[in-house]
């Protein structure tokens, strides 16, 4: 089973995370500052790192940049700051994901699982044939199946159509009526809010935290897009 390094200066948080992760069947190694984390990473084979940002001795961002010099092990940042700039900084330095404190244990475990699956099983393999891949989301157009980080997600045909259309145009913003026209292939005539409802459902099924979507994003007052 995968080994996870949990690094936080707050011992209580480390032990709580240990309990959760061990309950899921993962092996865990504790560390209480960035320096310890680095030492452990040099000595042991670790498949995932949970890294707190604000720590004594060596803070999370500096530790992360040192880790990235040596390995590409998945790193999830734990941060108390919810400002966008901090998130952007973390992702730029090389974090694979981030969770803001106080976090929901269920959400955290979902993210851990997602990162591990990607790292261990998929191995970044290229999409082939009729499959389409964007981030951790993969759709197989032949079997009409969708997986998020290898985990199957069941969608209604309409939701599937919308997702497929958005994945075909990553980064592009579509207004609800435009989406309706392109996916339903008819004029909306006041049915635009139907699109919004479908998008919400899609988000709830596909995203780990639907309130803070990573892939299917709303651009308020303009439309929706697939983050690439």
């Amino acid at each position: 089973m995968a080994k996870i390094l949990i690094c936080d200066d707050e011992k209580d948080i480390v032990s709580a995370l240990t309990i959760y992760l061990q309950a899921e069947g993962y092996e865990t190694v504790p560390a209480y500052n960035g320096r310890e984390a680095l030492e452990i990473l040099r000595g042991q084979e670790v498949q995932l790192v949970l890294l707190d940002v604000m720590m004594p001795e060596l803070d999370g961002i500096s530790a992360l940049s040192k880790i990235r010099q040596e390995s590409n092990v998945p790193v999830i940042l734990l941060t108390a700051k919810s400002e966008d700039t901090d998130k952007v900084l973390g992702l730029n330095v090389g974090a694979d994901d981030y969770v803001t404190k106080p976090f929901n244990p269920v959400e955290l475990i979902a993210r851990v699982r997602s990162q591990l699956r990607r790292y261990l099983q998929l191995g970044g393999g290229a999409a082939q044939g009729d499959t389409m891949k964007l981030g951790g989301i993969e759709i197989d157009d032949k079997k009409k199946t969708v997986t998020r980080d290898g985990e199957p997600v069941s969608l209604t045909p309409r939701e599937y159509d919308i997702l497929k259309f958005l994945m075909q145009h990553p980064g592009e913003v579509f207004s609800p009526s435009e989406l309706y026209r392109r996916v339903w292939n008819e004029e909306p005539y006041g049915a635009e809010s139907t699109v919004a409802v479908h998008i919400r459902h899609l988000r709830e099924k596909l995203e780990i935290t639907p309130a803070q979507p990573r892939w299917i994003k709303a651009v308020w007052g303009q439309g929706y897009k697939m983050e690439n």
């Binding site: 709580a16 609800p176 809010s193 308020w220 007052g221």
Partner: protein, 671 residues
């Protein structure tokens, strides 16, 4: 060059050369003028010679007639160096010293009037061309009396001369004679020889003379420029120093200088005498030299002063004017101070007294003249109107500024230009009030920023223990409960820790939004799309609470400028509010319309609880620190929405009408 300028010897040489070149220039100009008078630049040398002879003959006429009047004719014969004959009107020789055998070289005839053998000759006529008829214009009998003069002249060698005679007027009661003047071979050469010699000498050099004049003029200018440049240089250092002469005030120096020059020139005019030619020439030259030197001294001294930039200061007149100006200023300042010192209420007295005095003098002066009295009245009325207008404008300016300050406008500056006295003081005081106000506002902004920082930092610190609490409560809830109560308590803990989490997040956001500490990235949005998206997000949740969402919007798209995320946060908060507080089973209206160039987005719902709170209190909760009334959430939703709206320049209006709760967002609509 500086060495040359500083050298005294060079200056003395330059002055000497300047004097010499001026002398040469004068001489050359005199010579040129003389030669030109003879026509040396137009005709041949012989013609010039003839002109010279003619001129010398004419010069003899006056002394001769003078002699003829004063002396017996026989004395005159011997005395005169020129040959002459006195003829009557019939060209009969009355007297003369011309011998028969003399060869005439040049002759001229002049009509003269007077009394023979005696008394008086008048030589006022133009020379007469020999053989020319003289046409008297007087009465015919006069003409008869003196006979005809049509006969041809018996005189030999008529000289071709330009036509000179015209209408001549005969003096009344006098006899007319002719005087014939000639140079003959037996005349003494000295009578006209000097001039002839001069002509012989100068004529070949006539063009060189012009060149000499030009050259000496240029040399003089050059030397003059050098002297002006060298003025004040006393050594090779190139430094300009004031000397003894510069101690004399400039205007005084010029006064003395011009006086001296005038005096010397006057002397020149007076001393000249033909009798002492050499002496008077020397005196004249000396006087002119003196005048020139004096002028040079004044000019050089002026040059020194100009170089030192001290010309005006070295003028007595200027110093006197400055002194006067200083005193006038001091006096007016003292008077102004006196007037300013008057209490505001008494300030009307000086203008009143001045007006009254002017009125009095005017009336006394012109009490008879109605026009002037009326003119005075009109001028006075205009003056008073101008004064009142000035006061009104000044007061208006103060009023406007005070109003702006009172309304809390930033960067109000009351212009105190052209204001004086109490008005100026007032403007300055108002500006000070404004400064104090803006300082206070700045300090408040600063303290709000600090508060935001404090709240942010504290909430970060709260989040870490909160994480543990949430996690362990969650772990607790997974354990098998020992009894039912434990399970209940854990649920409370879960609910309240979730609320605490929400509260910390909202606190940071509310504090940031209310102090404007958030970046705003406005984009062009379509409110219709936003409404669809909102309906999609909230429709089902509202339906779950048995609320019927009714959305109405215009057919055409409505574009506005707003930050999409902030705007969504506003809508999110408002709809969450509706979810929480709306009476189940009622309708919720979401309405978009365009009104007078504004896009209006309104939310209406029926409140489940009676709203016994004023709308302002709902949005100012955070600012005022009122206790939250709600049991769920932070109660900061509306406050955050209001702050975010204000931040983006969106007008958010809350109103409560009984149980109807209404929020209107007003945007500036875009095309």
């Amino acid at each position: 060059m500086n060495k040359l300028k500083g050298s005294l010897a060079a200056k003395i040489v330059a002055i000497t050369l300047l004097a010499a070149s001026c002398l040469v220039l004068c001489g050359a100009i005199a010579g040129i003028a003389w030669l030109d008078g003879m026509g040396a630049y137009h005709g041949s040398k012989d013609e010039v010679r003839e002109t010279l002879l003619d001129n010398s003959l004419e010069n003899r006429l006056y002394p001769l007639t003078n002699d003829l009047r004063a002396l017996p004719v026989n004395v005159v014969y011997t005395h005169a160096d020129v040959r002459f004959e006195l003829l009557d009107k019939n060209w009969q020789v009355l007297a003369g010293n011309l011998a028969e055998d003399e060869e005439i070289l040049r002759e001229m005839s002049y009509p003269v009037s007077g009394f023979y053998q005696g008394m008086y000759f008048q030589s006022e006529f133009e020379p007469l061309v020999t053989g020319e008829s003289l046409n008297w214009t007087n009465e015919a009998d006069d003409y008869e009396e003196y006979g005809s003069m049509d006969e041809p002249s018996p005189l030999p060698t008529p000289t071709p001369k330009p036509q000179t005679s015209g209408e001549l007027k005969k003096p009344e009661g006098t006899l007319v004679y002719f005087i014939r003047l000639c140079w003959t071979d037996r005349c003494e050469q000295r009578a006209w020889g000097t001039e002839l010699q001069m002509l012989e000498m100068l004529h070949p050099w006539r063009y060189e003379l012009i060149a000499a004049a030009v050259a000496s003029f240029m040399l003089a200018v050059l030397l003059f420029v050098f002297l002006m440049a060298a003025a004040g240089h006393r050594d090779a250092s190139g430094e300009v120093k004031a000397g003894f002469v510069e101690k004399i005030p400039a205007d005084l120096l010029w006064l003395v200088g011009i006086g001296g020059i005038c005096a010397l020139i006057a002397v020149t005019g007076n001393v000249f005498s033909d009798n002492y030619l050499v002496a008077s020439l020397v005196t004249t030259a000396l006087c002119l030299l003196g005048a020139g030197l004096l002028a040079l001294l004044c000019l050089m001294s002026t040059a020194v002063r100009l170089k030192l930039g001290a010309f005006l200061d070295s003028c007595l007149t200027w110093r006197f004017l400055r002194w006067c100006w200083k005193w006038i200023k001091a006096a007016s300042r003292a008077l102004g101070k006196l007037l300013r010192g008057l209490p505001l209420v008494w300030k009307w007295i000086p203008p009143f007294l001045v007006l009254f005095f002017i009125d009095l003098v005017w009336t006394l002066q012109w009490y008879r003249d109605g026009d002037m009295l009326v003119l005075g009245l009109v001028v006075k009325a205009l003056f008073i109107a101008a004064a009142i207008l000035y006061l009104a404008i000044a007061f208006q300016r103060l009023r406007k500024g005070a109003k702006a300050i009172a309304q809390g406008e930033e960067n109000v500056v009351i212009d105190d230009e052209y204001l004086f006295g109490a008005l100026e003081d007032h403007a300055k005081d108002l500006n000070h009030i404004r400064d104090g106000l803006s300082r206070a506002v700045d300090e408040r902004m600063k303290s709000e920023r600090l508060r935001t920082e404090l709240i942010t930092n504290v909430s970060h610190d709260i989040k870490t223990p909160l994480t543990s609490i949430i996690n362990y409560v969650d772990l607790l809830s997974r354990e098998e409960p020992e009894n039912e109560k434990t399970k209940e308590y854990v649920e409370v803990l879960q609910r309240q820790s979730a609320r605490l989490k929400k509260l910390t997040d909202d606190l940071v956001e509310a504090s940031k939004a209310s102090t404007g500490n958030l970046p705003v990235a406005a984009e062009k949005l379509e409110l219709g799309v936003l409404l669809d998206q909102t309906a999609g997000e909230y429709g089902e949740r509202l339906a779950e609470k048995n609320l019927d969402l009714r959305v109405t919007k215009p057919e055409e798209p409505v574009y506005v400028q707003a930050d999409p995320r902030h705007l969504w946060r506003i809508l999110d908060n408002l709809l969450n509010n509706i979810l929480k507080y709306a009476q189940p089973g009622t309708r919720v209206y979401l309405n978009l319309e365009k009104k007078n160039g504004k896009a209006e987005l309104s939310f209406r719902n029926i409140s489940a609880q009676p709203l016994n709170i004023r709308p302002e209190e709902l949005t100012e909760r955070f600012v005022r620190g009122d206790s939250a009334r709600s049991t769920e959430g932070s109660g900061l939703g509306l406050a955050i929405a209001a702050s975010l709206a204000k931040l983006q320049g969106i007008d958010m209006e809350l109103s409560v009408d009984g149980d109807l709760f209404k929020v209107i967002l007003r945007f500036d609509a875009e095309e």
